[in-house]
């Protein structure tokens, strides 16, 4: 932790900015009930009230406080995206390494399955599956995690393949170590840095993807506050020149930019490039 903080001091301005933004979002996520002046689904006044001291950003189409819902939205939108990305990494990353370590028929089987799944555009695939299983938070997480694990699989497999041919892995095999030992102690420590960078980028993809689905009315279901669906529900305001619906949208954009900045810096560090 201390080394992280000291490396942060030498980080470029954009990365420091990114870390700051991410911290603000985390605080909003954890302390939402204390920061938000009203409840998440509390109906307070009439619809589309303007900005005022009682309702900081006005009210939405059902008369709920916009500001409170944006704060709670951090929990739902970011929380669901985080859960999905972690699940995608557990499944895709593990299978990718297994495919690289075991090779042969296992590798062929997994890789061809992933090839087929990747041939279908993921938005279309997600829409198809969500029609069938219905839209609920758990099915949303499962479907998108499955689709995204294919991309993680590709990366994990290709970076693990460069490690698997190393002498120390061969030595471990001759020692008679099991599959789990080789994955956990030989391969994983050596591929962790590209995987961590990929985690950041993958999270951004999942986050934008879920927001798009929610925007289409097929993601997080009401009355849960969610930034994507908040934009859609209040979009009529834009035609009157009111920018309120753009605030949840910019909340999505800001977090994605922040993560991109941090990942950029991490990748730059990991690649050993020096600034000119």
């Amino acid at each position: 932790m201390f080394t992280f903080l000291s490396s942060l001091r030498t980080a470029p301005l954009s990365a420091q900015f990114g870390i700051l933004i991410i911290c603000i979002y985390l605080i909003a996520m954890v302390f939402a009930p204390w920061i938000a002046p009203y409840g998440e689904t509390e109906i307070l006044g009439s619809a589309f009230e303007p900005w005022s001291s009682t309702y900081l950003l006005g009210t939405d189409s059902l008369g709920r406080d916009m500001f409170s819902r944006i704060i709670y939205g951090a929990r739902n939108t970011v929380g669901i995206a985080l859960a999905t990305t972690i699940l995608a990494f557990l499944v895709g990353g593990l299978l990718g390494i297994v495919a690289a370590v075991m090779g042969g028929i296992v590798d062929q089987l997994l890789s061809r399955t992933v090839d087929v799944l990747m041939a279908i555009p993921s938005l279309i695939f997600a829409l198809l599956i969500l029609t069938i299983v219905g839209t609920s938070t758990s099915s949303l997480i499962l479907v998108i995690a499955t689709l995204d694990s294919t991309r993680v699989f590709r990366l994990a497999r290709s970076v693990a393949q460069t490690v698997v041919v190393m002498d120390y892995v061969e030595a471990a095999r001759y020692r008679g170590e099991g599959l789990w030992w080789i994955i956990r102690y030989e391969v994983l420590p050596n591929i962790s840095s590209p995987l961590i960078a990929e985690f950041g980028l993958r999270f951004c993809f999942v986050f934008l993807f879920i927001s798009a689905l929610s925007f289409l009315g097929l993601g997080t279901q009401p009355p849960l506050a969610d930034w994507g669906s908040m934009v859609r529900d209040n979009a009529t305001l834009i035609t009157f020149g009111d920018i309120t619906p753009l605030i949840p949208a910019s909340a999505i954009a800001l977090l994605t930019i922040a993560i991109n900045f941090v990942v950029d810096w991490k990748l730059h560090n990991a690649s050993g490039l020096k600034d000119e």
Binding site: V116, P121, L127, L128, G134, I257, N260
Partner: protein, 318 residues
């Protein structure tokens, strides 16, 4: 020449196989539906007789394999079956909307591809200058914007605050082309902004990659201007990855159009797909997914073939 033909045939058959597997997935997705399709559509109050009649009408009482075969053969002949929601023939619903989707995607591509190439070449030419830096920061941030955010910002500035363009893109066949182009300009700009970044970065990166080669140095030592070096010596050799990324982005355009169509209430295939998903109109969703997936696979295939054609070394992998 023969080897190129052989390669194209090989890729083409691979594409057909992929399409076949994808159609299998789309078809079987409905098979694993928890519960019964007829029950789902008709609701809890339906009597056993009406359910049986409905199942017979859809052919649900036949085994899955024979249904798949007849579904696929009908699809190939252009008969997509009937909508569960309103009973209309799906092919009627699809034909206009699909051409509308292709229209706006092509419109965006015509703006985006030359723009991305020009910007990419300029960024490579003036690399590490202020132009390059600004281009870099804008591209990094515009990747992070959700499509609907870009769309609504455009609506706010170009349609509400200053009424340059209409915010609704409702077009019909009876309009003259100029009117159609005018009404769909905001969706086209949105899509352009979404895809131009990726293409531009790729153009810049692949040109800079080539700039280190000896023949570029030679050209420079002959006293050629930097612009001439890049356009005549670097660009042709950097073409393979650029073509690839263009085709990939065109594939993305056809799919990414879904959200943009919803924002601008554009009568395209994406809008139909989203409506059908919320109505759980499975037959329409199946047909639309298959068309989207087919277009996506086709464009990826073209990307593959073109990038090999532009770099014959790829003909003999490893």
């Amino acid at each position: 020449m023969n080897s190129i033909l052989l390669m194209t045939l090989k890729r083409l058959s691979l594409g057909v196989i992929t399409l076949f597997v994808v159609s299998l997935i789309i078809f079987s997705a409905v098979e694993i539906l928890p519960g019964d399709l007829a029950q789902e559509v008709l609701g809890q109050t339906a009597t056993p007789e009406t359910i049986a009649a409905f199942r017979h009408e859809l052919g649900l009482d036949k085994p899955a394999i024979s249904r798949y075969v007849s579904w696929l053969t009908n699809m190939i002949q252009g008969d997509f079956g009937h909508s569960l929601a309103n009973g209309r023939a799906i092919s009627d619903l699809l034909s206009d909307r699909f051409s509308n989707t292709l229209f706006v995607a092509a419109y965006a591509a015509i703006i985006a591809v030359p723009l991305a190439l020009t910007l990419g070449i300029l960024a490579a030419l003036y690399r590490n200058s202020w132009f390059d830096r600004i281009a870099n920061i804008t591209t990094l941030s515009s990747i992070s914007f959700p499509e609907f955010f870009v769309a609504y910002i455009l609506i706010l500035f170009l349609s509400v605050n200053n009424s340059f363009f209409p915010s609704l893109a409702n077009i019909s066949d009876s309009m003259p082309l100029s009117e159609q182009l005018y009404r769909t300009i905001l969706p086209a700009i949105t899509l352009t902004l979404v895809v131009v970044v990726h293409m531009m970065r790729m153009t810049r990166a692949s040109i800079i990659n080539v700039l280190a080669s000896p023949y570029v140095e030679m050209a420079r030592m002959k006293g050629m201007s930097p612009a001439r070096v890049i356009v005549f010596h670097a660009l042709p050799n950097a073409l393979a990855p650029i073509i690839n990324v263009i085709a990939l982005n065109l594939a993305y355009l056809v799919v990414g159009v879904v959200v943009v169509e919803v924002v601008f209430v554009y009568p395209g295939l994406g809008q139909l797909l989203v409506d059908s998903v919320s109505k759980r109109d499975i037959t329409v969703v199946q047909a639309a997914s298959l068309i989207f997936a087919g277009t996506f696979i086709l464009l990826n295939l073209i990307a593959d073939i073109l990038s090999i054609l532009s770099n014959p070394r790829l003909l003999n992998p490893r």
